[in-house]
């Protein structure tokens, strides 16, 4: 009988917390693009005699993630030292939580790509400091071929929250979905920018196979997956590799493997025997961290709506489609913007459509966040109100929207600047426009007049030009009858 396999995956996600200063000193965390070793001080450089002091904001952000995941936010936690030597580690140890993490337990529920519910238990989430970065000044920036290495400690000491899942994930797509959901959560809470490419969200996976004949392959840790796509690819590769070995009667050994995105393969980095003995012990420089019950309750009461709650509300209360709701609930600011529009009187579905298409388009073009979007939700609502009252066509409304976004001007100024007049174009004004269009397009007009327009193509063309001239503010039927009259 053929063997069957069951995949078991647990993920460790490192999230860089969006604090202004580092976890144990007051240096800036803004290291991207900064001059190497410019955001450093005796503490994060590990100079002799310097001492760490915990950044309270990092603790709060960590607790918020815990509250969102239904973890127990622990009142008494502490920090350990994880001892190992590496050049990017300034003290010879990393300060990390060990036996008493800030968040214990939790659960993440999400839908897979087919809409089926997936539940993944959270083991813990703990605080730790990031390491610096090695730079290899070789031709291709790789270690091989470099004559020496440089170390940049700007990232050293930046707060990380490591979220550890139980091995509840059963396939690579679920691992990807889980990661997407964690990323959405931390972005939504404003706890992290969650960017995998720049490394503010990093995923390590533990993956093993359970075989139908009772064997159980050892767990293999996979590192260096820098995008959701490479996470899924690496795990798919590893599933195949492990199953092949096991099917051929081989054994999977506990080890750490490195994903090579270019090659599309995982490679052995170090075996269990080569694993570090980290000699964890409580950091004597940091007294136990006490987060009082009052502070936890205060945080709980300040917790914003969670992305999955918002998504549900957009469907239930606003009647949005599942797809619109999902896209908008990627960002707390987008949801707040939509809520602002609705509060200012806009019809929810129309407003949602505008936020999703027009607003997000501008944000993408300008590469700005919605907080920096120049148009207030009330202003968008006032444009939409004109549309609703038939005073502005959709096309004209978009012109006005663009002018308001471009110039930051008020509604009336923008309408003038966009050449839009509020209200219908009719009567003598419409007649003037029709005459102008017919004069400028004498060939087409002549063809219609002489009956050489069997499929009404030319008359439609002329109608379109008139509508464009009026910015859509004329009645189509009226335009049609006017043109017919003029050319009869």
């Amino acid at each position: 009988m053929a063997l069957s396999f069951q995949t078991v995956i647990g993920l460790e996600i490192h999230v860089q917390l969006a604090t202004k200063s580092k976890l144990f000193c007051s240096c800036s965390t803004d290291y991207i693009g900064a001059r190497p070793n410019s955001n450093v001080c005796p503490v994060c450089l590990g100079m002799p005699g310097s001492l760490p002091v915990v950044n309270g904001r990092a603790v709060e952000l960590a607790a918020m993630v815990g509250l969102a995941l239904g973890s127990k936010v622990q009142q008494a936690t502490r920090f350990h030292r994880k001892n190992y030597f590496y050049a990017d580690l300034s003290k010879g140890y990393q300060i990390s939580q060990f036996d008493l993490p800030i968040c214990a337990g939790g659960l993440l529920v999400f839908d897979d790509d087919e809409g089926k519910e997936v539940r993944v238990a959270i083991t813990r989430a703990h605080l730790e400091e990031d390491a610096g970065k090695l730079v290899h000044p070789s031709v291709d920036g790789r270690l091989a071929g470099a004559l020496h290495s440089l170390v940049d400690y700007n990232r050293g000491g930046v707060p990380l929250l490591e979220i550890v899942s139980e091995p509840d994930i059963t396939c690579p797509p679920h691992a990807r979905r889980y990661t997407e959901e964690i990323r959405r959560l931390v972005r939504y809470l404003g706890v992290s920018d969650g960017d995998m490419e720049s490394g503010s969200l990093r995923v390590d996976a533990n993956i093993s196979q359970k075989v139908s004949d009772g064997r159980w392959g050892s767990r293999v840790e996979i590192k260096n997956m820098n995008s959701l796509r490479s996470l899924e690819r690496a795990l798919e590769y590893e599933v195949k590799r492990q199953r092949k070995v096991l099917a051929e009667g081989g054994e999977i050994h506990q080890e750490t493997r490195h994903w090579d995105d270019g090659e599309g393969k995982t490679r052995s980095m170090r075996s269990k025997e080569e694993a570090h003995d980290y000699r964890y012990f409580p950091d004597p420089d940091l007294p136990p961290l006490i987060v009082t019950a009052d502070r936890i309750e205060a945080l709980r009461s300040l917790m914003p709506e969670l992305p999955w709650q918002a998504e549900r509300r957009l469907v239930d209360a606003y009647g949005l489609g599942a797809d619109d709701a999902k896209v908008l609930a990627e960002s707390a600011a987008a949801v707040a913007y939509l809520d602002g529009c609705v509060q200012a009187g806009a019809e929810a579905k129309r407003a949602a459509n505008w936020v999703r298409t027009e607003v997000l388009r501008v944000l993408n073009e300008r590469k700005i966040s919605i907080e920096a979007f120049p148009l207030k939700p009330e202003s968008l609502a006032s444009i939409l109100a004109l549309v609703d009252r038939g005073k502005l066509s959709t096309t004209a409304a978009k012109d006005v929207f663009d002018v308001m976004v471009r110039d930051g001007s008020g509604l009336d100024t923008a309408m003038a600047a966009a050449g839009v007049v509020s209200g219908r174009v009719e009567g003598s004004r419409l007649e003037e426009i029709v005459e102008k269009v017919l004069a400028e397009n004498a060939d087409a007009a002549e063809a219609v007049r002489s009956g050489k327009d069997p499929k009404d193509k030319k008359i439609k063309f002329l109608q379109g030009l008139v509508m464009r001239e009026t910015r859509g503010q004329a009645d189509v039927a009226q335009v049609a009858s006017l043109i017919a009259r003029k050319l009869s």
């Binding site: 005699g49 001492l51 002091v53 001892n83 030597f85 000699r279 012990f281 004597p284 007294p287």
Partner: protein
């Protein structure tokens, strides 16, 4: 009286009243240092020019009637593990021989803000690991009462300098007795405050959970004056208490100890203690009884395991604290062809034998498979010992004990026998393990050598100790200035 023989309080008063300039005071101490240093070798880095420049700046400020700090113009010395901005901080190690920190230890900053003038950085056992200052990578220091003998350690340079009149105040760090044992050997006051009383920021650590910073002085008043300056909260040290400190100098007014209970530790009686030490303890006991105190026996059944536990916990923390000396960022860095070779060569060449011994012990006791058997067990014993001290302090207000089992030993006498060397911290290290304040004070002299006795108080019970010390000082008189005969 010669300026260098006077107390810090006295010097500060005469500077404030413009009887003496800061320059005169500093110069007197610098020349005392210059005269004694060829005999004692207590200082790694003298700061003559820096001190003179600072003295003239202070004199100008005083001439403008600017409000002087409580220690304006008072010279002081720090152990060379206190970081000093722009001045090399060696920890008496090849590893940091040329290292110049870009920042000041909080204690140094507080002292300078109070107007004190740093005139030198003192010799010590390498990275504060030792009890004789013989483990300095540079040179050994002589005891100012007999330069053939050791000044104790690890803060031996600071103790010798204070005793010999280089400065009325010197500072050290105490992990298992490193202030009190040299204070006893050099015949001065040496105080290890309650853990958390004084900021450790900027003092290169040995064992973070045991280290405390404290003063040496030749009068109790100076000691308390120094404590008032350094014992303040510091937001850079999370282990430093934020509570208000008492008005330490109030203890100077205490003349009687009626109602106070003095504890004598039953277990200490079983140890091999020098007769002169026993004699000094007996007379101190009489003084305390005469002042109205009653004497009570207390028991610390676990104290005998203290030495073993100390030599697990302190090296464990040290092995991690000293991991940063890898040749990558600062200090000694060996030529190497790879990162791993850089680590090996830098640490092989940069650390001395005693440091290596302790790093090996510390690494071992934290290793997986040994952690529970050693480190964790030692922590449990410490917790028990703390409980025993708590019980003892429910019965007594302070404890009277020897500081060291012996008088200052000869150079080279114990250097080949680490265990015997470690034994000299037998009576001092329990206070570190329980985080208690403890003072070594001079209890007299025997054949020209000073004898130290120790007062141990409950956590943040500094005032109990200082009150008792005030009574003893009034009876015994001030300790003598050392080196007068040299």
């Amino acid at each position: 009286m010669k300026l260098y023989a006077r107390s810090a309080a006295d010097l500060a008063r005469s500077i404030r009243s413009k009887e003496h300039s800061v320059a005169e005071v500093v110069e007197a101490h610098l020349s005392r240092m210059e005269r004694m240093e060829p005999i004692l070798s207590a200082i790694i880095t003298p700061l003559k020019e820096e001190a003179r420049a600072r003295a003239s700046a202070l004199d100008i400020a005083l001439s403008r009637d600017e409000n002087p700090g409580p220690l304006t113009g008072v010279p002081f010395i720090v152990k060379d593990n206190f970081c000093t901005r722009g001045v090399r901080t060696t920890c008496a190690s090849r590893m940091l021989e040329g290292w110049v920190p870009p920042y000041d230890a909080t204690v140094v900053r507080y002292l300078e803000e109070a107007g004190a003038v740093l005139i030198g950085k003192a010799n010590m056992d390498e990275f504060a690991m030792g009890s004789s200052t013989e483990h300095s990578a540079f040179f050994t220091t002589g005891n100012p009462w007999d330069p053939r003998r050791v000044p104790g350690g690890s803060s031996g340079g600071s103790a010798a300098a204070c005793a010999a009149g280089y400065a009325p105040l010197a500072f050290g760090s105490d992990t298992g007795g490193s202030i009190r044992q040299p204070a006893a050997f050099c015949g001065v006051y040496g105080f290890k405050p309650t853990y958390g009383m004084v900021s450790r920021y900027g003092v290169v650590p040995f064992a973070s959970s045991l280290d405390q910073i404290g003063p040496f002085s030749r009068t109790l008043e100076d000691l308390l004056l120094a404590m008032e300056v350094i014992a303040r909260p510091d937001e850079r040290d999370a282990t430093c208490s934020r509570a208000l400190r008492p008005d330490f100098r109030k203890a100077l007014d205490v003349t009687d100890l009626r109602g106070k209970r003095v504890g004598l530790v039953k277990e200490f009686e079983g140890y091999d203690i020098d007769g002169a030490v026993i004699e000094s303890l007996r007379s101190a006991r009489e003084i305390l009884i005469d002042a109205g105190a009653s004497v009570v026996d207390v028991t610390l059944p676990t104290v005998g395991h203290g030495l073993a536990c100390y030599y697990i916990i302190a090296p464990a923390e040290a092995s991690s604290n000293l991991a940063r000396f890898d040749g990558v960022r600062y200090g000694f860095s060996a030529e190497a062809d790879s990162l791993i070779e850089l680590y090996h060569k830098t640490r092989q060449g940069g650390f001395g034998p005693e440091v290596k011994r302790r790093l090996l012990m510390g690494t071992y006791v934290l290793s997986s498979g040994y952690y529970d058997a050693y480190y964790n067990k030692a922590l449990k014993v410490v917790a028990i010992l703390r409980g025993e001290f708590d019980r003892a302090f429910s019965e007594v207000d302070f404890i009277l004990a020897p500081t060291t089992p012996t008088l200052p030993f000869r150079k080279g006498e114990n250097i080949g026998d680490p265990i015997r060397m470690y034994m000299s911290d037998l009576f001092t290290l329990p206070a570190n393990m329980a985080g208690l304040p403890a003072l070594s004070l001079n209890g007299g002299y025997s054949e020209g050598l000073p004898v130290g006795i120790q007062l141990i108080g409950p956590r943040f019970g500094e005032m109990e100790i200082f009150s008792a010390a005030a009574v003893i000082e009034k009876s015994l008189g001030l300790p003598r200035l050392a080196g007068g005969v040299l």
